[in-house]
Each structure stands twice: as structure tokens, then as C-alpha cells.
């Protein structure tokens, strides 16, 4: 009986679809239409008797087309092309002052539903998946809020921040970005760069990788916000590794991020960069090692200054609160230490720091027009006169910070374009004079200048290994990657190349000890391991399960930085033996 009714209804629906296809515009409208229709149905009808109703619902669809290519020693590694359409549902029950989020219990609660969607613009099937994922998300939300109420019934909340900050509705739509490059085009460039390593006998292992994606994000929420955003990304990386005669492993990398593949393909300097990198690595094989520990002034220039900022300061800039927990969990507040530093000094008096997602061009690729909550991009002044003013937030309320700064990327807040400025910018000459002065004060034989710093996301492929935590950072310290290019700088201006330099636990407060900075900035973009960090934020934030993060690329604009005192040493640990056989290509 039931079957026949369903069948006849579907028949009617099919006819309606057939009639309407010509009248409907592009597939984009189908996606927005499907989300809006299910949103209306959810808000009007989805409820269980005597239970909380949904008060906020947001749907996100990410349509992503991508190309990934790699090569090693001039030959292509497996490449992949794919197209996916992914749905995320954020459904909140209760109200903005107390809802199902910001809670972590013993049970596993998926924060919201998700699904993969048809690649065809089939409105009925897209709606079916939204319907099923929403149903899941609603039931999960009811379980979450019940567990949260149960956990809190015997406690007085010290902090009552609410769970969703208010936001004006905002609508935005942009045109699709450029087409993806052809696979063979990307393969061609990658192979061409990789084959250069056949002229570098000392390089034992190298990889060139490229990735281009053409993402479109569609968003609607129950407050009237909606957007269609293009999220194009392109990325090229080169890593290479050699081993000195005594066994020390030496590597370096180059990475280029851009919005479109053309911006990478049209750069004429890539091959020369790769060759220069290879030559620099080879040069380090015969460079001297630090015989002892060094404590004294260290100057970070260019990439090294930006990378250091990214590793130490950047992870502290996201305002993520600690969720409520069941009493069975220890109430250890392991949040971001900067949450307690609002209004305190984090940089020297002459320095400023801002995040600005609206910046584009001039090498800035971390920005976007609207964030993943549908909040328009904005500039946020983070540090003024060295004092921490605010942190970057989503709509998840954080103590001491008013509303969202429009920095939701994936599950939590992330910086976009980070700009560090200073009122006492020095010329290169002045900066080196300052370094000499610091050396003189300490009667140091030499100072250390770091020009390239490793990026943990771009280490050479080393296979399976465990990181055993003996050398982990102490409390209030950061792990920083080894310096790849560093020099001893002597008072007479002479420089002596060092092989690799390791930092002995850098204190969180180290940025307060900047003595001087240059008058010009290096613009440096970074991705990679960031995506992983956002996954952690997502879990802590208890927000929706937006698994494929929108990229998480961050551009930093940072001056050269001179630090009063740092402790550096030759990398600890024993050295592996060099290979038994010679490289077969370079034998004889």
C-alpha cells in the first residue's frame, strides 16, 4: 500500500523536475535551493515532543575539484585528480545563551551530520542527504545538550559566556574562479623541476609536489546569512636531502602558495631556485658544526623570521575556549595561554600585529571575503604597542573578546594574513650594528644569524618513525624546527656557514625580548601542517564537523627580528652511517 503511494508521488515529482529543468539556472542554484528548502523544513517541523527545538541551523556544501602531482629524481610519482561534494550540518538546540556546543563528555558525539553529495545537480537527492544528515545532527544535539545539563546540574558555572555570539545576517556571492590546470601541464612543470636533481650528485633524495584545487563553498543559515565563495588554492613544494660524510642529515625546502596555478606556472625563477637550493644544501656538507652550546644574540632574517613567528606566535593567536566537561574528566584548563594575556605585553613596545583577511595581491594569499560562519572578512588589530588586545575568534564566545573577528576556517578560528609592523624599523646596516653591540656587551666571539628555518610540514620523506618525547619542550616553551641556513657572524663582518643549528626550547615569552626589527618585511605563505592544527581546534571547539578545512593557508608579513638571547646547539643525537653503496646514477 505504502509503496504505491510513494511511487506515484515520485512519478509526479519526476514530471515536475523534467518540466522545470530548462527554467532552473546553473547547478549552483540547485545546491542553494536544496539547502534552503531543507532549512525551512528543519526550522518549521523538525522537533520531538518535550525536547529542545533547533534554534540555529547552518548548511555548508563544499564542492572541490583538485589535482595532485609529485615527482622524484625526474620521474612522476602517482598523481590524482578528484571531485567531491561534501555537506556539513551545524545544528544547535537550546538557545544562544546555552546550547549543545562547548561540551565534551565521555560519549562520542559527532558535532553534526555530514554526507557526501551527488556530483550531479539532482535537487531531490541532494535534499535526501541533507534530510538524513540533519536528522542525525538533531538527535546528536539532543544527546549533547542533555549530557551537558546533567554534567552542570551540580555545579555553579564560573563563566557564563553563552554559546553563540550574535551576528548580523550577511549575504555574499562571487563568480567561480579560474579553471583547474590540465593534469599534464602540472606534471610537466613538476617533472621539469625534479629532473634538475640529476645534476646534483650530492642530493640523496628529493621530492617535488604540486597541488591545485578549485573549491566552491555554499552556505546558508537560519539567521538569513548565505554565501557562495570561491576557494582556489595552488601549492608547489620541493624538498631535498643529503648526508655529510660524518653522517649528519641535511635538508631544505622551497614552497610556493598561490590562489591559482598560473601564478605558480608563470614564475620564471623556479628552476633557478631549485638549483640554488641544491647547491646550498651541498655547500652545508662541508660547513662547520657548532662545537658547543651558544647562548647569545640571534638575528632571524627573511624566511627564518616569518617561520619562527608562525611556529611560536601564530598558534597562540586563536581564541579557543576550553569546553565544559563531565566531572569525571579532570578540569585541567589546557587552553591557549594567551587567553590569560589579554591586556598584557607579548611583544616589545614598538611592535604591532594585525590579522587582515581582506588583504589580497602583493603576495598575500591567506585572505577570503567571508569566513566559514558567514561573517564578512575584516582587519583585526591583535597587538598594539606590544600589548595583546584581542585574539581571533569565530562565533563561539570567548572571555574578554566581543563577538566574532570573522576568522572561522574549518572548525575553529585561524589567522589569515598576519602583518607584523614596528615603529623603529632599522636598515640592514643598523640592525647588524645592533647585533655587534649585543655581542660586545657579552664579549661574545661571534653572533648567530639565521636565514632559513625548517618547517615541520615540509620535512623530507623519511618513512615510518616515532617521535619519542625526551626532547619535548618544557612548560611555557615551544618546539621550533632546526635552522637550515645559519651563520656565525664575527665582529669584523665575516660570516661562516654552519651546517644545522638546533634551538634548545624557546620560551613562549621570547617575542617580548625582540631588541630590534628591520624596516622592511618579508612576505611568506605557509600551509601544510596547519590543516592538522585546525582539526584539533575543531575537536576542542565542539563545533560542526567541517572536516575538509578550507585550506588554512596563512600569509605572514614579518620584519627581520633580532633577539637579545637564545640558546642554540649542534643537533643532538647520534649520526646515521652514510649509505653503503654509491648513488647508482652518480657512481664512478
Amino acid at each position: 500500500m505504502k509503496n504505491t503511494i510513494f511511487l506515484s508521488n515520485t512519478f509526479v515529482a519526476a514530471v515536475a523536475l523534467a518540466l522545470l529543468v530548462p527554467a532552473t539556472a546553473a547547478g549552483e542554484d540547485v545546491l542553494m535551493q536544496a539547502m534552503r528548502e531543507e532549512l525551512a523544513r528543519t526550522m518549521d517541523e523538525l522537533r520531538m515532543e518535550g525536547m529542545d527545538e533547533p534554534y540555529f541551523v547552518a548548511y555548508t556544501i563544499r564542492d572541490n575539484e583538485q589535482v595532485s602531482v609529485g615527482a622524484s629524481f625526474g620521474a612522476l610519482l602517482p598523481s590524482s585528480t578528484s571531485r567531491t561534494r561534501w555537506l556539513g550540518v551545524e545544528l544547535r538546540v537550546g538557545d544562544a545563551s546555552f546550547d549543545n556546543t562547548n561540551f565534551r563528555g565521555m560519549g562520542f558525539f559527532g558535532g553534526g551530520g555530514s554526507a557526501s553529495l551527488p556530483l550531479t545537480d539532482d535537487v531531490v537527492e541532494i535534499r535526501r542527504q541533507i534530510w538524513l544528515a540533519t536528522d542525525d545532527a538533531y538527535k546528536n544535539a539532543l544527546k549533547q545538550i542533555a549530557a551537558k545539563r546533567a554534567a552542570l546540574q551540580n555545579e555553579t558555572r564560573v563563566e557564563d559566556l553563552g554559546d553563540l555570539s550574535p551576528q548580523e545576517p550577511y549575504e555574499y556571492a562571487e563568480e567561480p574562479g579560474a579553471e583547474l590546470p590540465r593534469l599534464d601541464e602540472v606534471e610537466g612543470l613538476v617533472r621539469d623541476l625534479s629532473i634538475r636533481f640529476r645534476d646534483m650528485p650530492h642530493i640523496m633524495d628529493s621530492r617535488v609536489g604540486a597541488h591545485a584545487a578549485r573549491g566552491r563553498t555554499y552556505y546558508v543559515n537560519s539567521e538569513g546569512s548565505s554565501f557562495i565563495r570561491s576557494d582556489p588554492t595552488a601549492f608547489l613544494s620541493v624538498t631535498a636531502q643529503t648526508q655529510a660524510d660524518d653522517g649528519a642529515m641535511l635538508h631544505d625546502f622551497r614552497a610556493v602558495h598561490a590562489h591559482g596555478w598560473d601564478d605558480i606556472a608563470n614564475r620564471g625563477d623556479l628552476a633557478a631556485e631549485v638549483e640554488a637550493m641544491g647547491a646550498a644544501i651541498s655547500e652545508r656538507r662541508s660547513a662547520s658544526a657548532l662545537e658547543d652550546r651558544y647562548i647569545g644574540p640571534v638575528l632571524f632574517e627573511g624566511q627564518a623570521a616569518a617561520e619562527l613567528t608562525a611556529q611560536v606566535l601564530l598558534p597562540r593567536l586563536s581564541g579557543v575556549r576550553t569546553p565544559e566537561t563531565e566531572r569525571r574528566f579532570s578540569a585541567r584548563r589546557s587552553g591557549n595561554p594567551f587567553l590569560d594575556k589579554l591586556g598584557a605585553r607579548v611583544l616589545p613596545r614598538f611592535m604591532y600585529l594585525a590579522d587582515d583577511a581582506t588583504l589580497t595581491g602583493n603576495g598575500f594569499v591567506g585572505g577570503y571575503p567571508v569566513d566559514d560562519d558567514g561573517v564578512p572578512a575584516q582587519a583585526t588589530s591583535l597587538v598594539e604597542n606590544g600589548i595583546l588586545k584581542t585574539l581571533l575568534t569565530t562565533r563561539n564566545p570567548v572571555r574578554g573578546i566581543d563577538g566574532s573577528t570573522g576568522n572561522r576556517r574549518g572548525g575553529g578560528p585561524q589567522p589569515s594574513n598576519l602583518v607584523m609592523t614596528n615603529k623603529r624599523g632599522m636598515t640592514r646596516e643598523e640592525l647588524y650594528d645592533e647585533l655587534k653591540l649585543l655581542m660586545e656587551e657579552r664579549e661574545a666571539e661571534y653572533g648567530i644569524v639565521v636565514r632559513r628555518l625548517g618547517n615541520p610540514g615540509l620535512m623530507p620523506a623519511s618513512g615510518f618513525s616515532f617521535n619519542i618525547g625526551f626532547a619535548g619542550p618544557g612548560a611555557g616553551q615551544s618546539n621550533v624546527a632546526d635552522a637550515l641556513v645559519a651563520y656565525r657572524f664575527y665582529p669584523d663582518g665575516r660570516e661562516e656557514l654552519l651546517r644545522t643549528v638546533e634551538f634548545a626550547g624557546i620560551a613562549d615569552s621570547v617575542f617580548k625580548e625582540i631588541v630590534a626589527a628591520s624596516d622592511s618585511n618579508t612576505i611568506y605563505t605557509r600551509g601544510g601542517s596547519w590543516g592538522f592544527a585546525s582539526g584539533l581546534v575543531m575537536m576542542v571547539g565542539g563545533g560542526l564537523g567541517l572536516s575538509p578545512s578550507s585550506g588554512g593557508t596563512v600569509t605572514l608579513s614579518v620584519p627581520d627580528l633580532l633577539f637579545e638571547e637564545m640558546s642554540v646547539r649542534n643537533p643532538t643525537g647520534n649520526l646515521p652511517h652514510p649509505p653503503v653503496a654509491e648513488h647508482p646514477f652518480f657512481e664512478e
Binding site: N3, I5, F6, L7, N9, T10, A13, A16, L17, L19, L20, T24, D29, Q33, E37, E38, R41, R47, M48, G70, A71, S72, F73, G74, A75, L76, L77, P78, S80, T81, S82, R83, R85, S116, L117, P118, L119, T120, D122, V123, V124, E125, R127, R128, Q129, W131, L132, D135, Y138, K139, M204, D205, G463, F464, P579, V580, A581, H583, P584, F585
Partner: protein, 571 residues
């Protein structure tokens, strides 16, 4: 055209089973194999001068080229093609009696060594391939030396091992050369087909999942070792998988699937048979929603050919894998039962990787050489009810010093003994009616209210170790209650469980209805394609336990499909 050539090769394989299957055509030898051979020879020479030289080295490069497409409820959700190559190195220091690969005792059975996936270039570029081989061989050599030191210490400090066989068997080299096969389907056709196959499910609001996925894969392997083996093989696999699920009012998710796996596209079903199967699935799913639950029960049951194939795979197959007779933390259920009766005298069980078809169905557990370059061969494990042999890789066990061509693995894993095509043979079988008659007689004799008949199953699993109960679980999808008057009723909510020796002793009879179950078997050496061909069997006593179930209610709102709000004109 191509498939004609391939089937001729297969025919030769069957005829010549047990010997080297292919003549080597020197001119056709690919550049990949040549590069591998050159680097292998160089490595053995250079490393041979070291204080601890390797006594054995093999390289295997596995290329997987594939295309796949999937749809749900009639709409396409993915479509990709891919090609990748993975390198595996087996480098051994020590000697055949004791080498670096011996599992450490008393430290749990799992080793991280060998799961380190090395991606190789996908181009036939000898210089790049050799550069990779050189770099990885050096790494493997250094870790092998470390492993050997650990192994030697372990042997010193632990009690004497029960199994005295060494770590590696001496074998004759093999040569074989087969040209890479192409994928013989058009992805665009299959994008259409998977949508077409799942479209009928879209008419129903109470199916919560309905998917079809198709994949076509060619696996090309290049293998060289220091014994002098040089092998290139190419195997194709085509799969179509249709799954759908609904939910009963009590929250129980009711899945159903239909799987088709074939060695050539010709062996895949045509659109009409798939449509028929889909219509059957729809009907069964709707019936399952209203089917009564079965309580835990013990009594007689019939396992259909498909179910009994998985039953034999789990309770017998995994327990005759050679290395499990050797590892001290394994249950070793059958080790001491060699030459003893374990099944009725009219039951024989063979593992035969040289067979490619059985009763009109492809057998996907076929191969020509195993992952250690040993030619595939038929192994009779149970002969007329008597246990006769185990499945062996090049890791010998007491009484079985040689491999019998069952060293298998997924690319990136370390080889162990695995199953191939499991063939259950029953002499003087009953007819299906006679088998059911036996079931009714058993119900009557035991005074049971009903018996069970397992028709379709999802799969199964088993634990073979000593620290967990040595048991198995076969997960049925379609089960019937059979009443003494012969009437059958569809039921739901139970899994078939048991312990191997007890259950095996209850196998009573088999019929002449052979069915083939093709699937992927996962174990410590990764996923490998296997099949089981078996008749329906009567087991005089089985046990079923309640199936785990979701506590979530079915969706609150009706599906958007039958909903009159679906007014397209509004927008």
C-alpha cells in the same frame, strides 16, 4: 581480442599448474624489471662485502591502475581513475635458519616493520627507479641489521621454541613474463550504469542508504630476487557492489548487498540481471523491516553455499595458515590434528589459486605466482575428512620445509601465508531437497520448534590467538526460520557464532548446489582477494547470538521525496 589472449594464458596455467607457467621472452622484458635486476645485483655485490652481508634480497613493485565510479539513489557521487606503484623490499641478514624477520616472542604479534609504504615512480624510468631502490635498500639493510641483533637476543633469553623449523625456505628460482593488461571498460558507461542500478531505490523514503560502486583494476607486479627469479604478472579485477539499508522501527539497521566480482568484464552481469537483483533487494529489505526477531538459539541449520564458504574460510582457512602453527601466541587449533579426521569422510577441502572459474563464476583468489615469486599450486588441506596440509609461504614449519605458493600480501605489507580459492568438495552430495529433508529430520529428532537457514551473509571474522576466545562470527543478512512442516519465515537480528573444533564436528552433510563467495580478506599482510566455493551444508548444531543494533529512531521527518512541499515552482 585481448581477453581472448588472457584466457588462453589462464588455460595454460591450469594445464601446467605446479611448474613455471611462462616462458621468458627476453626481448619483451620491460625496463622496470631490468632496472630492478641491475640494482638488485649491484646491492648484493656491494653489501656482500660488508661484515654482515644480506643472504637474500627481493624487490617487488606493484602497480595498481584503477578506475571507479559510485552513485547513490541514482545520482553520481564519485568517479576517479588512479595509478600508483608501491615498492616492497625483503632483505634478510643472518641465514635460512635464523634471520632478522623472525617474530620476537612474548612481545605481542604485531610488528611495525614492513608496513612502511614506499611509493615508487609511475614512469618506467630506470634511473629514477634505481635511485629509489638504492635509497630504500640502504635503509632496509640498516634496519635489518638492527632487527637481527634483537632477534638473536630474543632467542637467547626466551625458552626454546616449540617449532624447530627455520625462518626461510630454499626454493628454485621462477621466471615468468606477462604483458600488462589494459582496463577493458569505459568509465563513462559505468557512471551511467551505477546511476541506473541505484535509481529504483530512490522511490522509497525509508531506505537510508543505497549505493552502487564499480571499480576496474589492473595490478601489475614486477618481482626479482637474489635466487634469480624474474617475474612480471598482470591481473585484472572488476567489481560491482550494490548496497542498501533500511531501519526497523526498533532502530535495527538492516543492510543488504549484492556483490559481483569478475576477472574480465565479460563475466560481469548484464543490466537485466542487475535490475532483477535490485528488485529482489528492494523486496527483501521491505520484508526485513517487518520480519520478526530471533532470540538466541542453538539447533540445526542449513548454511547456503555462500554462507558455508565464508564459514569454512573463517573457521578452517585462517587456522591452516602456516605461520599460525608457528607463532607462540596463536591458538594452533589444527596443528596437532595433522592426519586426523576433522570432517565427515565425504568432505575434502582444497586451496587452488590456479583455478579461475567454478560453476560459471570467476574465482578471484587466483594468481600465477605468489608474492614471494613461488608458482601457484593446488593444496589439498583436507582429503576425505583427514587434515593433510597447511598453507605455506617461504616461512617453513615443522614437517613442511617448502613453500606451497601461498605467501601473499597487499602491496606495502609483509608476506605471510594466506588463503587463495577455497574449494569444498563433497562426494555423493545430497540434492537441495534431500538436504532440507535432513534438516527437518534433525528438527524433529531434537524436538526443536524450528531450525534456521542462512542464505545471504555479509562476511565474518575470527580470532585465532590464545588470549582472546578462539571463536568466529559469521554475519548473516538473510536468515529463514524453517518449521517442522517445511514452511520458511524470514527473520532478523542474529549473528552466527561458535568455536572452531566443536562447530566443525557438527558438519553433517552437503548438497550439490555449489555457490561462490568472492571477497577481500583482511589480515596482518593486508587485504588480498579470495574466494570460497562451497555447497550448502547441514550443521547439526549451530548457535546464534543477538546482533548489535543502533538505538536511534528512524528519521523524524518524512523523506523529501514523497513530500508535497517539493514544489519546484515556488523557486
Amino acid at each position: 581480442m585481448r581477453s581472448g589472449v588472457s584466457s588462453k594464458v589462464f588455460a595454460a596455467g591450469i594445464a601446467l599448474a605446479g611448474t613455471s607457467l611462462f616462458a621468458v621472452d627476453a626481448t619483451a622484458e620491460g625496463s622496470v624489471l631490468k632496472a630492478m635486476k641491475a640494482e638488485l645485483d649491484r646491492s648484493m655485490e656491494v653489501l656482500g662485502d660488508e661484515p654482515v652481508p644480506p643472504y637474500f634480497l627481493s624487490y617487488e613493485i606493484t602497480e595498481t591502475e584503477g578506475m571507479s565510479a559510485g552513485a547513490q539513489f541514482g545520482a553520481l557521487v564519485f568517479s576517479n581513475s588512479s595509478r600508483r606503484r608501491v615498492l616492497d623490499i625483503d632483505l634478510r641478514v643472518g641465514d635460512y635458519g635464523l634471520d632478522n624477520t623472525r617474530p620476537l616472542r612474548g612481545q605481542g604479534g604485531f610488528s611495525f616493520f614492513g608496513t612502511d609504504m614506499v611509493v615508487a615512480p609511475v614512469e618506467d624510468d630506470a634511473d629514477a627507479i634505481r635511485a629509489l631502490l638504492w635509497h630504500e635498500t640502504d635503509k632496509r639493510y640498516k634496519s635489518a641489521m638492527e632487527e637481527l641483533t634483537t632477534v638473536k637476543t630474543d632467542v637467547q633469553v626466551t625458552v626454546e621454541a616449540e617449532d624447530k623449523a627455520g625462518d626461510f625456505s630454499r626454493e628454485e628460482p621462477s621466471k615468468g613474463m606477462e604483458h600488462a593488461r589494459p582496463i577493458e571498460v569505459d568509465l563513462a558507461d559505468w557512471e551511467e550504469k551505477v546511476q541506473q542500478y541505484t535509481a529504483p531505490f530512490a522511490a522509497y523514503g525509508d531506505f537510508y542508504e543505497a549505493r552502487a560502486s564499480f571499480s576496474a583494476n589492473v595490478e601489475t607486479r614486477w618481482f626479482v630476487n637474489s635466487d634469480g627469479s624474474e617475474i612480471q604478472t598482470s591481473e585484472t579485477l572488476y567489481r560491482l557492489f550494490i548496497s542498501a539499508s533500511t531501519k526497523a522501527e526498533d532502530g535495527m539497521v538492516l543492510p543488504l548487498y549484492k556483490s559481483y566480482i569478475a576477472l574480465t568484464p565479460d563475466s560481469l552481469p548484464d543490466d537485466e540481471s542487475v535490475a532483477r537483483d535490485v528488485a529482489n533487494m528492494v523486496e527483501t529489505l521491505l520484508a526485513l523491516r517487518d520480519a520478526p526477531l530471533v532470540d538466541p538459539y542453538t539447533g540445526p541449520a542449513i548454511l547456503s553455499g555462500e554462507a558455508s564458504g565464508v564459514f569454512f574460510h573463517e573457521i578452517l582457512g585462517h587456522r591452516v595458515e602456516g605461520h599460525r602453527q608457528k607463532l607462540e601466541d596463536e591458538g594452533q587449533t589444527f596443528k596437532k590434528l595433522l592426519n586426523e579426521r576433522v570432517l565427515p569422510a565425504n568432505f575434502s577441502v582444497h586451496f587452488d589459486p590456479t583455478m579461475t572459474r567454478h560453476g560459471g563464476t570467476d574465482l578471484v583468489g587466483t594468481y600465477r605466482f605468489d608474492n614471494q615469486g613461488i608458482p601457484a599450486r593446488r593444496v589439498t588441506v583436507i582429503d576425505k575428512g583427514i587434515l593433510k596440509a597447511f598453507l605455506l609461504s617461504r616461512r617453513p614449519i615443522d614437517g613442511f620445509p617448502q613453500s606451497n605458493g601461498h605467501g601473499r600480501k597487499q602491496a606495502g605489507f609483509m608476506t605471510v601465508a594466506r588463503q587463495s580459492n577455497l574449494i569444498v568438495e563433497v562426494t555423493d552430495p545430497l540434492t537441495a531437497d534431500e538436504l532440507k529433508g535432513e534438516l527437518l529430520a534433525a528438527i524433529e529428532a531434537e524436538g526443536k520448534a524450528f531450525g534456521l537457514r542462512f542464505e545471504a551473509i555479509q562476511g565474518g571474522f575470527t580470532t585465532t590467538g590464545r588470549f582472546m576466545p578462539n571463536s568466529f562470527n559469521v554475519t548473516p543478512l538473510v536468515v529463514y526460520r524453517v518449521y517442522p512442516d517445511g514452511r520458511e519465515e524470514l527473520v532478523r537480528g542474529v549473528d552466527l557464532i561458535g568455536t572452531p573444533l566443536t562447530t566443525f564436528s557438527k558438519v553433517a552433510a552437503g548438497d550439490d548446489q555449489i555457490a561462490v563467495f568472492n571477497g577481500t580478506c583482511g589480515a596482518e599482510s593486508g587485504g588480498v582477494p579470495v574466494s570460497a566455493a562451497s555447497p550448502s551444508i547441514l550443521v547439526s548444531q549451530i548457535e546464534v547470538q543477538k546482533k548489535g543494533k543502533s538505538q536511534d529512531r528512524p528519521p523524524l521527518l518524512p523523506a523529501p521525496i514523497g513530500d508535497d512541499r517539493l514544489g519546484f515552482a515556488v523557486y
